[in-house]
Amino acid sequence: MNPDTAVMIVDDDEDVIEIGTLVLEAAGFRVVAAGDGVDALEILEREEPLLILLDLMMPIMDGEQFLQALRARNITHIPVILMSGYSGALEIAHEFSTAALLRKPVDMDVLLKTVRDVSRKRREEP
């Protein structure tokens, strides 16, 4: 697999990770999964995904805390797509200038189009 095609899903809902993986793999992406922000940071030390699909309500380290941790580590070049039903998601999206905000439940074509758009933009960047 090409590391450039890796999408990281950060979500505590195992089923979301499982179906997200099926959907994204069927579309040609590789998926790395993390159950919370701490898991995700660990993975980021080893590899760099093309983009991050991030849930907000998670144990241990929630989505907002994860975004703060990214900022503190100066990891600002990996685009983040928020995927959440959380009512404060819009504020967080603005605060951290995330690449996109998807409201759960999300349609597959919207999810795929957003992931493709964001990853294309990332690849086009110098």
Binding site: D15, V16, M57, P59, E64, G85, V106, M108, L111
Partner: protein, 525 residues
């Protein structure tokens, strides 16, 4: 009527020489004298019957007339004092007044303006309050003196001051910020109601002195609250030079605190003072209740909003997975992925059904309609069922499970509710167990069985350990852990229906142990 008179006129040697007789018609004079007598009698009767003290002073400052009420009001006795001049009288009362000099000034002012009328008030050191009127006395057109009248309005004044005090304190107590309001009220009560005022509030640990206001900070009010007041009874008592009174703050027959006052050394509290303290306490209690209700409402609104937000989250999760799975199948996916997608749909369907069940249970608990169907149930069997069903969750969490039982443990319980009880407790252990080992023990002793579920996860802070049994309460932020916060509330309700007991021991970072004891047979059965 005729008045006659005869006189003998004597000569040089005393011998009568002549007789003179005279005769007057005195009808008018007699009538005038009688009228004068009647007027004087009427005047005296009126003077002495009036509730006001009256004093007439002539232009030279001499007392022309006064009534007995005047002497009563001034605390003078007619047999001791025969007032002759106004100055003598004023000198006799000067020291009784709060501001004797001002009283004198007003008199002098009136002396220099004989034609003027006056109205002012006199406040006595003992708390009495007089209104004073004066107007010139005229005969014909000429001013010959001045009539002063004094009216004791102490009672009216007291009632007005009490009414104003209550109105002012009530305005303060309308605030929802109850502690500063009580502080302001205590500051208003000193010195009006005493030299010191203390406010105690009754909490779980007994009475807590919220605040003390003392007129003299060097001599703070140190008297602690009397047990009688805590029992809900107002009281006054005098010990040596000390006079003290206290009134309980009562909300719906429950004592929530008290107001207490200590009097200055010259004052003794009366029934009327206590009535005022009780009225103030009633208003303060209403304020405390008002603030509590407001906080309760705010809290309920916050809980509702949080509940709705969490409920939405709980539905959106499974819905997301289900929708993606369905759309993936519709788009024609690879055959080997199909069973996975179908599994997901089935799992999400169950999650949503469980969620709906939980909501329905909450509704039943709220309306007291959670019914139990008692039958012989083996708790050991229920435990095996639950752990088998939760096997995949355990595997995902990575928590090794050990179960220690003594075989069949049969009691008269509701199978479905027992299953739910065990399931909720074990699910919590998995959810908050950080993937560490979970130990379950089942022990029967005499007629009671004890279920113990121990995890080594995040634990619960001491101050949240009781609250987690309340609906919508959680020991963790909803941002971190989903769920409606109903699990342990449902557990407690079921345990109570089964006449058992549930409690927990926990330490943050070390884990939680939940204990459930259930009687094998119901006492009621």
């Amino acid at each position: 009527m005729l008045h006659t008179r005869g006189d003998v006129i004597s000569g040089e040697h005393g011998n009568p020489v002549r007789m003179v007789g005279s005769c007057w018609d005195v009808t008018d004079l007699t009538e005038a004298t009688r009228r004068l007598e009647r007027s004087r009698s009427l005047l005296e009767a009126t003077l002495n019957a009036t509730a006001d003290g009256l004093l007439v002073i002539d232009r030279r400052g001499r007392v022309a007339a006064y009534n007995s009420r005047l002497l009563d009001l001034w605390g003078l006795k007619s047999q001791d004092v025969e007032p002759r001049t106004f100055d003598e009288m004023l000198a006799a009362v000067h020291d009784q007044l709060e501001n004797g000099d001002a009283c004198l000034r007003q008199v002098r002012e009136m002396e220099s303006h004989p034609e003027a009328e006056s109205f002012d008030s006199l406040r006595f050191l003992d708390g009495r309050f007089f209104e004073r009127y004066s107007r010139p006395q005229r005969i014909g057109g000429e001013i010959v003196g001045r009539v002063w009248s004094y009216r004791d309005v102490s009672e009216r004044e007291q009632i007005m001051r009490r009414a104003m005090f209550l109105a002012d304190t009530t305005r303060l107590l309308a605030s929802l910020d109850v502690e500063p309001a009580l502080d302001a009220v205590a500051h208003m009560a000193v010195p009006y109601l005493g030299d010191g005022c203390a406010v105690d509030l009754l909490g779980e640990g007994g009475p807590r002195r919220l605040l003390v206001v003392s007129r003299d900070p060097a001599r703070p009010m140190l008297i602690s609250l009397h047990a009688t007041v805590l029992a809900g009874h107002p009281l006054t008592y005098n010990v040596g030079p000390l006079s003290y009174m206290a009134a309980p703050l009562v909300i719906q027959d429950t004592v929530v605190g008290a107001l207490s006052f200590v009097a200055p050394p010259t004052r003794r509290y009366t029934e009327r003072d206590l009535e005022l303290a009780e009225e103030l306490a009633r208003r303060a209690a209403l304020s405390v209740q008002n603030a509590r209700l407001y906080r309760g409402t705010q809290e309920a609104l916050r809980a509702r909003d949080e509940f709705l937000s969490i409920a939405a989250h709980e539905i959106r999760g499974p819905l997301t997975s289900m929708r993606l799975a369905v759309q993936l199948i519709q788009q024609g996916m690879s055959p080997d992925a199909l069973p996975k997608a179908l599994d997901i749909i089935q799992r999400e369907d169950r999650r949503l059904a469980r969620f709906v069940d939980e909501l329905l249970d909450l509704g039943r608990i709220r309306s007291g309609q959670l019914h139990f169907n008692f039958e012989d149930v083996d708790l050991n069997e229920v435990l095996q069922d639950v752990t088998t069903r939760l096997r995949s969750e355990l595997t995902r969490a990575g928590s090794p499970l050990s179960i220690s039982t003594e075989g069949r443990t049969v009691g008269s319980w509701d199978r479905f509710r027992l299953n739910q009880l065990v399931s909720n407790i074990v699910s919590n252990a998995i959810k908050f167990g950080l993937g560490k080992p979970i130990e379950i023990r089942l022990r029967q002793e005499h007629d009671t069985v004890t279920l113990t579920v121990r995890d080594h996860g995040i634990g619960i802070p001491a101050d949240r350990q009781e609250q987690v049994f309340q609906p919508f309460e959680r020991a963790v932020s909803a941002r971190h852990y989903g769920g409606l916060g109903l699990g342990l509330h449902i557990v407690r309700t079921i345990v109570s229906g089964l006449e058992g007991r549930v409690w927990l021991e926990s330490e943050p970072g070390a884990g939680t142990t939940v204990y459930v004891t259930l009687p094998l047979k119901r006492a009621a059965a």
